[in-house]
Symmetry: C2
Subunit: 409 residues, 2 copies
């Protein structure tokens, strides 16, 4: 891929994504696949006068080895310095960039019971630090190709061709191949906000999903909880940032106690870098009561058992079937892209910052209002060509939101 | 390079290098050049029942960016968690593996005054933790190729060929291309120990170096300070480990107050990944009083000004001109290899564990005996085909140690 495009993409992530401010610290979390691109990000941060940029490197094969050989005791040891480091992040509030490139199926074969046990033990220890930063910092998730991921997306191409094709697909869906990606994103944000404003104006109390896969599902929405789209604002600041590049969705957090019916997945789900495929979930009174999957059913069951909130929804998101990402015809096997090609739901924690005047409440109070809480947040795709969504408004009116997979208005 | 050779090399580093023991932690410090090889090391550590293996990744281009853009204030900030982490290492005493692969000239252009200032500020803060672990843990330095380094060593080969050639050179000089590298190292250690024992039996009080480059230099040796070679033993344990792979040297720490004369470099020196070339140093009463270099003289001057001990020697090492590494005819531009192809000296801190019964003294007492102390330890090569070294013994006898660049006995 041409260097100039990559530098534009880095610029987009730093300026439109986290919108870094003079004197701020940045933490970049990345795999080892694209060190040169990461150096573009780092330099761009510094050019915007970041004070300090730290890169935390991950490497999937080492994750596999650690989970294979380390004891639960060693995997869940949290030395004092780790907590001190979290404390430091709470104090210095760095912006976060997450660069995804891992093979979506690369942790296949890992002991997922062990992984779950470790996550369950670590979660309560790390939660106070996560909560202390909740909503307060700019963050952005974006992707770059690895050879492993590229071959999964383009199995019939050579390694090199697949890799180049994935770069192109990523940059295109991220609007980074435009002459002026920054301007393209400003316009894109305006369009998304129009849809969002319309949804907010409807004062919906529920959505009813139906399609030919078998989905027949109703979800309750909360009074005083907004729809959101595109850019957001960090709590206590006026810094506008884009948490996802790309982003095509309008989303909200539903009432964690009001989900009923059956919902079918329409794309594979990469959870902890293992693929779960062809699954459906049955909900009753907000909780999953039945799951089936043709591939990795055990892992799916594990996932929804992580904690009480893992079997409830934290997010409902609307994306038209004719979204540019879906039109590309590419199945990315990566939620960042596939969720923006399809209507989706997320099991697990919801978005407390969607509650009106959320800044005046404690986190626990926001969860008490009906926003779900959990250690997980896992999106899965349910949009199809024939999906219909009918909304019910506060005053009992039925409004068609989606028809034949697309916006009905 | 064939996977089986690489796995053998990893095995050699883990079993013969750090000689990891069941239940120990390991920290591996590596650049991003050879993630797959690093995963072999990690797996080998776990197979030897290491408790936990942590990899700290470095990336030269980021180092360059940090030093270019960050303020001295930000570069020298030491958050509490960093000290807590050092404390954790003091407590858990992990074995350390350092894998070198950086371009020996890759930091050319960096602001070395800024780098020096940062190191000078950080050194006293980190020193107590370094001192607390001194001599107590197993460590091993070894190398793997990067494309940048390979092209420096083999400028006339294609990138790929250069890279393969450097792998071969590294494995060959490390005795890792043998059928049984472990056995080859046991034999090699025996041979080195024979030379070491002979040197120790001589009770030398000084060495006089001469060659046609212009070297005419005398260094005083300390009573009660041994020569060492090959494997060592971690303080307070009976764990035998090999700190350098490869290693061809017999070395000792000289009297920091007794160095006089002029000494010429015989190979380039990569200091902080910048090359210093064609230099000489003039010593008087243990201290450098004059330096000249055809390339990077300023950096050399900076180096010997880092602290009081930076202009005194901490190491004197003997390597025959016909050593296998020198016979390969390859100039590695990397001290780990080049120092084992040539007699060398090191400016900076000496080896306190060479003092008889060092375990009975405090570190400061060992330095008071005449072992040099400094924040740096930089080896530089002085061996030539015509180098002669004449030793003087305790009872005044002169003994030829080196003749025509090689052992005289």
């Amino acid at each position: 891929m041409k260097k100039s495009y990559l530098k534009n993409y880095a610029k987009l992530i730093v300026r439109q994504g986290i919108n870094i401010q003079k004197g701020q610290n940045v933490v970049i979390v990345a795999d080892l696949d694209q060190p040169e691109f990461i150096s573009y990000l780092v330099e761009e941060c510094y050019k915007c006068h970041a004070r300090s940029v730290e890169v935390k490197w991950n490497y999937q094969p080492l994750t596999k080895l650690h989970y294979r050989y380390k004891s639960i005791e060693a995997l869940t040891e949290v030395p004092k310095y780790v907590l001190e480091r979290e404390e430091y992040y709470v104090k210095t509030n760095p912006a976060m960039i997450y660069i995804l490139s891992a093979d979506p199926d690369g942790l296949q074969g890992i002991n997922h019971k062990k992984l779950a046990e470790v996550n369950q033990k670590l979660y309560p220890i790390m939660k106070p630090y996560r909560d202390a930063r909740e909503n307060k910092y700019q963050w952005c998730i974006a992707g770059v190709p690895s050879y492993g991921w590229a071959k999964k997306v383009f199995p019939h191409l050579t390694k090199k061709k697949a890799y180049e094709s994935l770069w192109e697909a990523i940059l295109k869906t991220s609007r980074a191949l435009n002459d002026n990606p920054m301007k393209a994103w400003e316009e894109h944000n305006r369009n998304l906000k129009q849809k969002m404003d319309y949804l907010n104006s409807l004062q919906l109390v529920s959505l009813h999903y139906q399609n030919s896969l078998g989905t027949d599902f109703t979800v309750g929405l909360l009074d005083g909880v907004k729809w959101e789209a595109g850019s957001e604002i960090a709590l206590g600041t006026n810094i506008v940032y884009n948490p996802n590049i790309p982003s095509e969705e309008c989303f909200t957090s539903p009432n964690k106690n009001e989900m009923n019916g059956v919902v079918y997945s329409s794309k594979p789900l990469s959870y902890q870098n293992q693929l779960i495929e062809d699954f459906y979930l049955v909900f009753k009174d907000g909780k999953v009561v039945e799951v089936h999957a043709k591939k990795n059913e055990e892992l799916l069951k594990q996932m929804i058992s992580m904690d009480e909130g893992a079997s409830r929804l934290g997010e409902v998101a609307l994306v038209p079937f004719d979204s540019p990402i879906n039109q590309s015809g590419i199945l990315f096997y990566n939620t960042l892209y596939d969720e923006n090609a399809s209507c989706h739901l997320a099991l697990g924690v919801g978005f407390t910052n969607l509650v009106d005047n959320y800044e005046n409440y404690k986190l626990e109070e926001l969860y008490d209002k009906g926003i779900n809480n959990s250690m997980i947040h896992v999106d899965f795709m349910i949009g199809t060509k024939d999906l219909s969504i009918v909304g019910k408004t506060k005053n009992g009116k039925e409004i068609t939101i989606f028809k034949d997979g697309n916006w009905a208005f």
